[in-house]
Amino acid sequence: MKRSIILLVTALVALTAISCDPSRLDIPQQGVLSEGDFYQTDDDCLEALAGVYSGILHSPERRMYTYLYSFLSELSDEVYVCDAGYAVDQLHSYMFYTYDPSVSYLSRVYNDMYAIVYRCNLVIDHFSEGTSAIQRNAVAEAKVIRSWIYIYLVSMFNTPPIVDHVLKTNDEYRQPNSETGKAWEWIIQTLDEALESGALDSKSDVNDKTKVRATREFALALKGKAQVYSGDYAGAKASLEQVINSGKYALIPGEQLGDLFFTSQGNHNCESIFETNSVMTNENYKTVSTADNWAAYTPVRVDKFRIADGSFLKGYAAGWNHYTPTDKFLRAIIANEGMYSNRFKAWIYSYEVLLDMGLVEFSSLQDPSRKEYLASTSMETPDKNCPFGYNVDYCAETAGFWQRKLTVVPDDMYNQTYNYSKVNRRYFRYAEVLLLYAEACAQLSETGGKGLECLNKIAERAGAPTYSTLNMENVKKEKWFEMWGEMTRYFDLVRWGDAEKELSDHYTTLPVFFGYKEGKSGADLNEKGTNFDQVYNIRYFDVQAYTGVKYSFQKGKCEYLPFPSTEIANNPELKQNPGW
């Protein structure tokens, strides 16, 4: 019995022996810091600031630029979206104004923008008392970036909630709409704070490529833009003048426009005021690239060409969809400056240019059905069934012209993979400053002087006719041609009150391109190419006849984007925009 008791005791000791040490359960997390330990040093500050910029480059939803582009360019009269293999209905829904607050790209853009605002606020909140130059500079830059994002937010949503600090509690997570006027005031005031801090860097001269972050001139340009957008033209003039007078920016020479503006060679070119920054090497390209698949949205989809003689074309075709200039834009710009101006050549590929450049070439394969099809159908009859069995979603909507501007060429991709583009995303360039300045002057009823000079600088560089007088009509026209596809047109049309007039029915028919007309070739184009529709085999597809739905811009509703439906659901303080 004694032995039994000893055993029992031993057993119980063994049972409890191990139990005393719950510290065995404390396992530190790898690769993270506690919030309290961070935000102390200059290095922490730079890492927090890198969070801001990486938010622009690798936004949480990865494709802020891509999604913004798809919205803002399609909502205006700039581009058709074609062959969207991915989310086809959504991309087309912007073009046709059939989208609703639940579309995913909308909430993604909204989420991305507020994520960047949040990261700006982390820098501002934690380092506004900072004394070192690095910390003061970081706070000023964060304020500039936050203001820049808010210019988009206010332009898109009109009354986005103002978030000027890191939100901490559940109650704070619910913020009401802002008032548009006050939002503009706050944006301008924040930019002033950044400017007055004296902490912003500035380029040394026009050729300085080392200032890759938000500069003093970027802040001034944004201030001017915000002032123009909010109707303070005199203020805008003063702000923008400072950028112009700094002498640190210049237009790219016209003949280099296509080579520099949207290639990696032109990263941080003399015209660029703000762009993302990636210096890629073979070792780092996967982590520093935008990886936003932008290149996949803009290739020339050779595989979707329908060539009249039935030939296939070979060439660069990887990607999901592509954008092409609208018929309306094409005809307007060709009427203005022809198909051979510096600007046109830089912005747009025409069919013969593609062939000349060898970007596409004919293969020996043929699909005779294409030829048969064309022979069997009269040219101008709207065809309810798109040719060759492809349904309407997959038509190559183009009149024989493709977007070159912003299209990433294979040479600018690592391993020719469209994930890894070497081209920095250019968000703000000097041409826009000149055009905003010209607009401010025109709005102040100036008809000549510096405003006209700025406008003509743009036209001259483009190789287009210059203007003899400054007025809003000329500013509007030039800005349309120059800033095509750069996400300003839609905001401009709304600001100018032109949206309803310009956007009501431009997508009723879509062009489909079939190569040259029988017996014609590029040699038949006249000096300016204005007779392209006599040479190109273009047929018009009646979208509204096909779908039976009338697509249109609706006044009082389509001026602003709706707040994403998830946001309306999750923020009870937020009121939806009118009409949505």
């Binding site: 506690s34 990486s54 639940s102 989420n111 069934n385 492809y390």
Partner: protein, 1018 residues
């Protein structure tokens, strides 16, 4: 039973001479003939004998003695000696269920005392099956348990779901696996042949002793131990031929052309141009020529009064049924179990499993994407020949590719792998195989326990058990550049190798004490603790350029100097600490009550130090009506046994928590930026998420009521269970307002209710030489999401056709119910489809989605019939599922020219006035139709899993050659399936066992098998 063993033990342990008074002799036999090794003992003494090879014994006993004759597995018999000196004794086999014990957490219990819902599967159910994993082996054998396979790939293991699905998290619905007391993460290391019994703890009270990890039930596996008697050597071997089980009919060349032209997808001229006019490929026949498997197991086992041993070595070699040798699975298992009683109060033992698994790159895992071979078999057009070149003509378009210098992929025999001209987004399945020049997975596992039992005094048993798990794995693959066409090509090399190892240990200490007061009051106490720790390490590297491309360069070592290499790896650890106890009381074998409690703490990767403890109580009770005194007069031949029981308890589910979800931390270098114009990179650091410090585990509360009854002298037995299980605190990604800067915060804000009914029955009887039994089970479960955070309307599940989320997690509907447009039929004049436009706005969009059904069956069932007659044995076993839906996801509206089941052709509208099921050809491969229940099918099936006929040579014959057992058998496994489903295999259809369940994009189907086997022992 205990007394009998004790008698045997005592007898064998003593060998001093006795005073001879009466000399007796005799034979012991059973229904098959003389018995070897039966014990004959003089009652109340240690005096006894063991029968020899001819069943005879001799013994000297006191006058008037009583003989106790026994053998394991037989009913004990007592015979008064009297004047008789020569005895012919007959032992009856013991089919008495009452004697069975079941393994419960940290102890065993007599089956008749059990108050919870525990299903038991014995080794008989697993014997001689062609399936190579335990989960598949017990699928259909018991109620309330479903094994969901997403692949029939050799070596693939299904997911086990006990009493429905209770979590929205895909990985978090697995039960807890305990093998010989050791907690393991999967059952892959268990060879079904080594399994003695499987207990499934279904209700909360049974499982609550495992606390925070038992919310999805517990599967307790006990491996074999040596059986008492003389040692035995055994060999089991089988050879299996595998063939494609279900061959779905897809369009042949003629039908395909008619359909595609009719739909306007492919022009007549294109067909004329690119089709040779005769190719009509049946991709199923081509890709599934069949496979084979062989398995050999050899082992020894034995036991005596002090110790026991069981050891076996098993090899399995399976080349699956897909073309070529890229679906192979090889496994070697070694099991060693031993136990020894060193002192009367000390017993030590060990269980060990060592396993090596090797498989080729898992083809099944490639399901779902456009290059998946299983999807391709279903969707590639019949106009394309699989191979060309060599003796076959090269189609013109392939010649163009070759002429243009494209590096066209070739098969090992040198022929070109043809790419379709009609279906430019679907890769030839051969291409998907051979673009991977190399791919393999290798796993090593060593799992085991060492334990000591201390029994210092009667009724007291203290166990200290140390368990270990050691695993090592390597996965490597090499994807070479390939060119199929402009859309399907890659110019990069991709070689990757991942090596990992894991070391875990578990230390359990617990005591059991049983005390009986006044013969009627029985108390059971159990208390213990457990500590568990797992350490894992992995390192992975990839490269994109090699110094050479011959097969002996396919290693990371030969990455060239300018290659882009990546490396990743980490070391991780998890740990938990638990205390638990159980208290049982029974009165007179009539009333039973049991309560248990467990406290669990988990490491800081799952819960914060303040929040780490969780407490899990349970209580259960039983009433054996037939043991009531007032029931003793009833006819036991009619009602032999009747018990009511009920239980309630709380369990947790910890597997939803991992990776410090609760913590607010700065993620360092989650991305980066170049803040200067140089290449220098600055890490971008910011809070990675909106943290929720209060995050906790899921909790399940379950109530179970059961009834066990046996009739007709125990020949008919039934068990009926009803349960209701509420799981709360499901972790859902709640979307905060985006202005917080974050888009997700994880919250315990969802609930699911599973409710069901389970019935099991068996009938056993003997008609002369003919023994037969029928057993079956049927389970019904309904599942409903009862709460979801109000900020979420629903959570999207799995996407089909690249645009539509076909499953949703939504309040008021079953977990991951199917949602889509409701297809109402065809306009019989135009052939246009009609859909239910819910809000009548003439637009079909997300607002028009209806609940369409669930992938979860209303009923699952299994039935086994077995019979024996003069050495012949016959088993037929089938299982089925009723009421589950399958979404046929093999089509994509944006991919032109995909082939599909002939159903879509035959049922399509053709002429005005047709009363057809489906619309005209051109409306079939369209966004609306593919988002609708026009592609949702009844996935009910009944499969005959086993039809086995065996013959055992007569023992009398075997005795002459000193063999114990020789049995030949042949079996048709998974051979017949009854289903209306149009796709591949309704049993394995689905991406996974959770949100993608029932979404069929083409997965590796189950093979039907013909098996020949041999069992020998001596």
């Amino acid at each position: 039973m205990k007394n009998r063993l004790l008698a045997l033990v005592l007898f064998l342990g003593m060998s001093f001479p006795l005073l001879a008074q009466v000399k007796i002799s005799g034979t012991v036999s059973d229904s098959t003939g003389p018995m070897i090794g039966a014990s004959v003992v003089e009652k109340g003494t240690a005096n006894g004998a063991v029968t020899g090879t001819d069943g005879s014994f001799q013994l000297t006993v006191k006058p008037g003695a009583v003989l106790v004759v026994s053998s394991i597995g037989y009913k004990e018999q007592e015979v008064a000696v009297g004047d008789q000196t020569r005895f012919t004794l007959f032992l009856e086999e013991d089919n008495e269920l009452l004697e069975e014990t079941v393994v419960i957490g940290y102890g065993v219990q007599k089956k008749s005392d059990v108050t919870g819902a525990i299903a038991s599967v014995g080794s008989e159910a697993l014997k001689n099956r062609s399936v190579d994993n335990v989960a598949a082996a017990f699928s259909g054998k018991t109620s309330g348990v479903q094994v969901i396979s997403s692949s029939g790939d050799p070596g693939a293991i299904g997911a086990i779901r006990i009493r429905g699905i209770s979590s929205n998290s895909n990985d978090a619905s697995d039960p807890l696996y305990i093998v010989d007391g050791l907690q393991v993460s999967s059952l892959s290391a268990v060879d079904p042949q080594n399994v003695k019994s499987i207990e499934i703890l279904k209700d909360a009270a049974s499982a609550a002793i495992y606390g925070a990890q038992a919310g999805n039930g517990v599967v307790v596996i006990t491996t074999k131990t040596g059986e008492k008697g003389s040692g035995k050597v055994f060999y089991n071997g089988s050879y299996t031929i595998e063939k494609l089980g279900i061959h779905p009919q897809t369009l042949n060349a003629r039908q395909y052309i008619e359909f595609m032209e009719g739909a306007g997808s492919i022009a007549q001229s294109t067909v004329d141009e690119f089709w040779d006019g005769k190719t009509d490929t049946d991709w199923f026949n081509f890709m599934f020529p069949g496979g084979s498997a062989q398995r050999h197991t050899i082992g020894v086992q034995g036991a005596n009064e002090r110790g026991s041993y069981y050891t076996s070595l098993s090899v399995l070699n399976n080349d699956g049924m897909v073309y070529g040798d890229r679906d192979t699975f090889k496994r070697t298992n070694f099991q060693l179990n031993a136990e020894y009683k060193i002192k009367d109060w000390l017993k030590v033992g060990t269980t060990n499993t060592f396993q090596v698994r090797r498989s080729s790159y898992n083809l099944g895992s490639m399901g779902g994407n456009d290059l998946s071979i299983m999807a391709a078999v279903l969707t590639l057009d019949p106009l394309t020949p699989p191979l060309c070149g060599g003796s076959e003509t090269v189609p013109k378009y392939m010649q163009v590719m070759l002429d243009n210098g494209f590096d066209v992929l070739t098969a090992p025999n040198g022929q070109y792998i043809t790419t379709s001209m009609f279906n430019e987004r679907t890769a030839n399945p051969l291409a998907s195989i051979y673009m991977y020049r190399d791919g393999r997975k290798e796993n090593l596992n060593l799992n085991g326990t060492i334990y000591a039992n201390l029994t210092p005094f009667k009724g007291f048993n203290f166990t200290s058990r140390f368990g270990y798990t050691l695993s090592a794995a390597e996965t490597s693959r090499y994807l070479a550049p390939y060119f199929l066409n402009a859309l399907m090509q890659s110019t990069t090399h991709d070689l990757s190798d991942r090596v990992s190892y894991g070391l875990g240990y578990q230390w359990d200490n617990f005591l059991n004490y049983t005390y009986t007061l006044a013969g009627k009051h029985k108390f059971d106490v159990m208390a213990g603790m457990s500590y568990l720790e797992n350490n894992n390490v992995y390192i992975e590297g990839t490269t994109d350029t090699l110094k050479g491309y011959a097969s002996n360069f396919w290693f990371l070592n030969f990455s060239s100097d300018d290659a882009i290499d990546t490396i990743s790896g980490t070391r991780s650890k998890s740990a938990s600490l638990s205390y638990f106890g159980r208290l049982g009381y029974s009165f007179d074998n009539r009333y039973f009550i049991q309560a248990s409690f467990r406290a669990d703490a988990f490491d800081t990767s799952k819960l914060s130090a303040q929040n780490r403890w969780g407490y899990f109580p349970s209580v259960s009770a039983g009433w054996t009506v037939t043991n009531e005194p007032w029931m003793q007069d009833i006819n036991k031949d009619a009602l032999s046994f009747l018990k009511f029981r009920a239980s309630w308890g709380i369990n947790g589910n910890i597997s939803v928590l991992s990776n410090y979800q609760y913590a607010t931390t700065i993620t360092k270098g989650a991305s980066n930026y170049q803040l200067t114009s140089g290449v220098e990179i600055t890490n971008a650091s910011y809070p990675g998420k909106l943290a929720n410090e209060g995050l906790s585990w899921e909790k399940s509360k379950q109530f179970d009521a059961g009834l066990e009854a046996r009739f007709f002298n125990n020949r008919l037995s039934t068990t009926l269970d009803w349960y209701i299980k509420d799981t709360d605190g499901l972790i859902v990604p709640v979307t905060p307002s985006f202005i917080t800067g974050h888009k997700e915060v994880y919250m315990n804000s969802g609930s699911v209710r599973n409710k069901g009914l389970e019935l099991e029955f068996s009938w056993k009887d003997t008609l002369g030489d003919f023994n037969y039994s029928i057993s079956g089970n049927i389970s019904h479960n309904t599942n409903l999401v009862t709460f979801l955070d109000p900020t979420l309307t629903f959570i999207d599940g799995t996407r089909v056709s690249n645009i539509h989320y076909a499953t949703r997690f939504m309040q008021g509907y079953p977990i991951w119910g199917f949602f889509g447009l409701h297809y109402e039929g065809v306009n019989d004049q135009t052939g246009e489809p009609i859909f239910n436009d819910v809000n009548q706005d003439n637009k079909l969009n997300n607002d028009d989605m209806n609940y369409l059904g669930s992938s979860q069956p209303a009923f699952t069932y299994g039935i086994t019939l077995s019979a024996e007659w003069k050495g012949f044995d016959f088993t037929i076993f089938g299982s089925g599922s009723q009421g589950n839906k399958i979404w046929f996801a093999g089509l994509r509206q944006d991919f032109v020219g995909r082939n599909f089941p002939v159903y879509f052709y035959e049922k399509a509208w053709k002429n005005p006035g047709d009363k057809s099921v489906l619309p005209a050809y051109k409306y079939i491969n369209t966004t609306a139709l593919l988002q609708s229940d026009a592609v949702l099918f009844d996935g009910s099936y009944f499969r005959i899993n086993q039809i086995q006929l065996g013959y055992s040579l007569p023992k009398s014959l075997l005795k002459a050659v000193k063999l114990g057992e020789v049995r030949f058998y042949t079996s048709l496994d998974d051979y017949f399936t009854f289903t209306k489903y149009i796709g591949f295999d309704p049993v394995v259809a689905g991406d996974d066992a959770g949100k993608g369940r029932g979404i069929d994009r083409g997965t590796y189907p189950t093979a039907k098998r013909i098996m020949f086997g041999l069992n020998i022992s001596f």
